[in-house]
């Protein structure tokens, strides 16, 4: 088995690259205070939020794009981006029947049927198209349990006190260049609120679709789990194929109070650009969870297969005593994709525990970097961390970098880190072949075996989905 045939295995056409032909209301390109005021006005936001946006914007003007990641891309011209785009005649509709059928079709084609008859059972979906949420399913059923699941724009109108209390409380508006930009211009995203003692009766999910070619997507997600509650949330992402790059700069904030648990899963399949590295999404995302309460738990699981550039470090601040943070990640890069991803586990409180399992697969001329920080603060008595970062290289043009920072200030704490780099060996491949298993399936089995620790963490409904997505990425002709 030569590496060339292995490489051809991971080259597969992108299946979600179509563009929905729909009339869109768009701002003209560029960003200034006026644009921010208009976004805020369209969304009928209360003054505190406009103020939040403007403070962020003014701060952003003083900031510089970070350059420490192992990523290279042409300078982003932030004045060449449209900051708001929405399908026309679209105030959010009271019922799905009023939603433009083209939009419903789009989501159906993406495997996310929104209509009452076809919708996924036991999964509530918030569907976001460019800058707006177009539909949220199962809202009534959820509200019977006191669970709020809606677009963040709606939450701003309906639950302003919750937004004011929690927005920016995990990722402050001055946090970093991209998060600050998001704080200034965020358009839509999801809001989840699980009240005290409630176990959310179904999986919640948001599906993000970028449609417009020159629009940036700046979604904002906020999930709050009150004392003793729990929720599992999944996001999925796709975008059409354009030969230009689109910017996606999202912020996700999670808050877990005493004994609450949030499981956040991502299957990211943004358009990655073509084989020569033309086009694709620039994915600069800030995700952070705050285990505020004792015995709280936040778990990030991500399967990153798309985007030209991924810059993403879902993190946990473990403040509550005995709180638990987890990060399970699969990042697959191919062609000229670049991923610089990892996590931060900040142990503040006593007996906090964290687990990191990261699996990077690099093929083609791609570059895949794990960057992580485990910090054990002076008060984190009895804290524990275990990290495992494995890389798999396919072909000799791909690169894998591992940068796990560890900082400990607490003798009564254990930090353990393991990393390895491997490839699919000819002998393993031959062994499987000699038992009648074809090359493609053999590679797919080994890659999915390599990722198994992570897939096991995905909600049941999506584990198979992720396996399929990876298999898809690995599908192709055998050379």
């Amino acid at each position: 088995m030569s590496t060339t045939s292995l490489e051809s295995l991971v080259a597969t056409p992108y299946k979600y690259g179509f563009v929905t032909d729909i009339e869109t209301e768009k701002f003209s390109k560029g960003l200034d205070e006026d644009v921010i005021r208009r976004i805020s006005a369209i969304k009928e936001e209360p003054p505190f939020l406009l103020d939040f946006r403007l403070r962020a914007y003014r701060h952003w003007l003083t900031m510089a794009e970070p350059d420490w990641a192992a990523l290279s891309h042409p300078l982003i011209n932030f004045q060449d981006i449209i900051y708001y785009a929405a399908p026309k005649q679209n105030a959010k509709k009271a019922s799905l029947d009023e939603v433009d059928p083209k939009l419903l079709d789009t989501f159906e084609k993406l495997g996310i049927p929104l209509s009452e008859q076809k919708r996924l059972s036991n999964v509530a979906v918030d569907a976001v198209f460019d800058s707006v949420s177009i539909a949220t399913t199962f809202k009534e059923k959820l509200s019977e349990h006191g669970v709020i699941f809606c677009s963040i724009s709606e939450a701003v109108r309906e639950h302003p006190h919750l937004i004011e209390h929690y927005l920016g409380s995990v990722v402050p508006l001055s946090d970093n260049f991209f998060a600050t930009l998001n704080s200034a211009v965020f358009s839509d995203g999801s809001f989840v609120f699980i009240p005290k003692g409630v176990e959310c009766p179904m999986e919640l999910s948001t599906y993000f679709r970028i449609n417009s070619g020159d629009t940036g997507q700046f979604e904002r997600t906020l999930i709050v789990a009150e004392e003793g509650s729990s929720v599992s949330y999944l996001e999925g992402c796709t975008a059409p194929m354009f030969d230009t790059n689109q910017l996606h700069a999202a912020v996700v904030e999670l808050v877990a109070l005493d004994e609450a648990s949030i499981k956040y899963s991502t299957v990211q399949n943004w358009y990655a650009g073509d084989a020569d590295g033309v086009g694709g999404i620039y994915n600069f995302v800030t995700k952070r969870g705050h285990c505020r309460g004792r015995h709280s738990r936040i778990s990030w699981t991500q399967v990153e297969t798309g985007s030209a550039i991924t810059w993403k470090y879902p993190s946990c601040v473990l403040q509550g005593a005995d709180s638990v943070g987890e990060f399970y990640s699969v990042a697959l890069t191919n062609n000229h994709q670049q991923a610089d991803t990892g996590t931060k586990m900040i142990h503040v409180g006593p007996r906090t525990r964290s687990t990191i399992v990261s699996k990077g697969i690099s093929a083609g001329s791609s570059s895949n970097t794990y960057r992580g920080l485990v910090q054990i603060g002076p008060k984190a008595v009895g804290a524990r961390n275990f990290s495992q970062c494995d890389s798999m290289l396919i072909g000799d043009q791909a690169g894998a970098n591992t940068h796990p920072y560890i900082r400990s200030q607490q003798p009564d704490a254990d930090v353990e880190h393991e990393a390895s780099t491997c490839r699919i060996s000819e002998d393993q491949l031959f062994y499987l072949q000699s038992r009648g298993i074809g090359v493609e399936e053999a590679v797919s089995m080994m890659v999915s075996g390599f990722c198994r620790d992570v897939f096991n963490q995905l909600p049941m409904e999506f584990a198979a989905e992720a396996d399929k997505l990876l298999a898809l990425k690995l599908e192709g002709s055998v050379g």
């Binding site: 008595v381 000799d396 894998a400």
Partner: protein, 436 residues
Amino acid sequence: MPTLSPLPPTARAPRGHDWLTALLKATAGPGGAAGSGADPLEAGREGARAALAHAGLPGRNHEAWRFTDPLPLTALAPHLLASPASAAPDQPSPLPAATGSTLRIHLDAPDTHARAAWPDGIERLEGEALRKAVLGSVLTDTGVEQEWAVALNTAIVPRVLALRVCGTVAPCLELVSQAGARGGVLPLRVLLLLEEGASLTLLQVHLAEGPSLTSVVMDIALGRDARLQHGLVARGVDEAALLAVTAVRQAAGSRWSQTSLCSGWGLARQEPVVLQSEGRADTRLRGLHWLEGHQLADTHSRMRFAGPEGSLDQLHKVVAAGESRSVFNGCVQVPRDAQRTHASQLSRGLLLSDRARIDTKPELEIVADDVRCTHGATISRPREEQLFYLRSRGIAAEQASRLLLRGVCEEVSAELPAAAGAWSPLSFLNAASQRP
């Protein structure tokens, strides 16, 4: 890596400006390369002095110095230490006697070098021979030439001890320096060329007893199939600082095995930087830092495989007590041509106090697919189960932890060259156990 050149000019004076200026002034003029008149270091010196004066001391914005601030150096007397061999006003402690199987060279007494009875296989290079030996090429190849600790050394070091080694050298070569209580800066530079098939045991010993900076740059080239067993024992005091750079270029088939034990310094920074220029070489690194009080120890290692089938086996250990801080940054670069590289890196930290801190940052950069690279890091405290096991056999708790600590240290010290025994490399353990 911070380089000196790309820093933008600033209106403000560079960090540590006054001290650096005084130091540069005190070391101005010819280095005093005795006899030949040709100063082999001259070529690089002026550039280094200019760069240093311009850049000042590295600060937090230099990634490689983020956790290690060299600012305390500016408290030291900005002049070179008087050579203890010529005049010894500060009465340094006596050294252990050299045994018959070692050849001891006092790095800080250069006038003795010409008189030394160099054994078969070691030739001291001077004048023309030294210039021909391509002084500094290893520093350039390994990319450390521009780094601050090297530039500082190049700017102020008056002379170089250059040795060529052929064949197997029987005695252990001891290179010793001692910074006495009087204080000042002691810059040392050694060039070591091991010809094809040469084999040498080297023990490098740096002692400090007063407010001093020992700045040592080892410039080592190993020819094909050459072997260097290299021990380093560095023992300082709280007022003393050590900046030790060891740049090694290894040809195919060579083996460099370094074991270093470092204790007592207020500030100790070690930079082993290795280039396997053709791959197919062995590199073995063992390091132990023992830290107490407010001491800071920083190890920045960098390993680059420029050819296939090389191997690295690295173990870095640190024991941090008191309010000490330890920094470990281990970079391993495996570019495309370095197929079938086998690299393993392990860092083990032991925190003995809740005011101590350990920062660990392994960096793996791998572009070859047929390689086995692993790294691991642990930071923990002495194992309760081990303690309990010993106690259940009737050993008192305190003695049990001492036994365990000794075990931690001996895993490294056992690999020192035999000659190191004379220097009591684990003496800090006794001192520690006597403390309340």
